[in-house]
Amino acid sequence: SQELEQSPQSLIVQEGKNLTINCTSSKTLYGLYWYKQKYGEGLIFLMMLQKGGEEKSHEKITAKLDEKKQQSSLHITASQPSHAGIYLCGADDPRYSGGGADGLTFGKGTHLIIQP
């Protein structure tokens, strides 16, 4: 089965600094999703990447999928307190084939703390 490893597990960053979170897959990624989760709440969709080399940005967050489609990175520029939370990468799991099944496999998450 596909596994996603996220690094680092946790990250403490001073407000205003840049940071990067990585997500590495054991198999080729067909679709890679980035979500953010506030503690004790549901997930909020950030971005989805499909093509090798693809890069997407939204406000101060940029996500990239490497050419071999086995690793993605999430970069936050000039971090703010609102960026604090848990960042999860999720992959379209090849286990689910046909019939419209598209449940995601998630990594364990990266806990981001922003220090004022």
């Binding site: 969709f45 019939g99 598209d102 995601l104």
Partner: protein, 118 residues
């Protein structure tokens, strides 16, 4: 803004008791997912519905878990009997499009139900 609704938000129960969680997806969303998230882990898919039909329930512990979406709208997830290891956040998500591997299909998540089994 349309949201996925879940209730209750918190549930405390004793082991061997039955519990049920309810989810109302965004109107018009044909696909509904139930995920379980153990503390410190990422969500794990339990079951996926397309309208009222189960698309995938391969990870659902069927000896104690059941899920239904009778009219293809809202859904109920039941656990009977609950065990200590079932303590987790149960997340419901919905999506508009019919899924399929590699096709972009944004899943909208509800706030979750936090279950504690004593």
């Amino acid at each position: 803004e349309a949201e996925v609704a879940q209730s209750p938000r918190y549930k405390i129960t004793e082991k061997s008791q039955a519990v049920a969680f309810w989810c109302d997806p965004i109107s018009g969303h044909a696909t509904l997912y139930w995920y379980r998230q153990i503390l410190g882990q990422g969500p794990e898919l339990l079951v996926q519905f397309q309208d009222e039909s189960v698309v995938d329930d391969s990870q659902l512990p069927k000896d104690r878990f059941s899920a239904e979406r009778l009219k293809g709208v809202d859904s109920t997830l039941k656990i009977q009997p609950a065990e200590l290891g079932d303590s987790a956040m149960y997340l419901c998500a919905s999506s508009f499009q019919v899924g399929g591997r590699g096709r972009f299909n944004e899943q909208f998540f509800g706030p979750g139900t936090r279950l504690t089994v004593l």
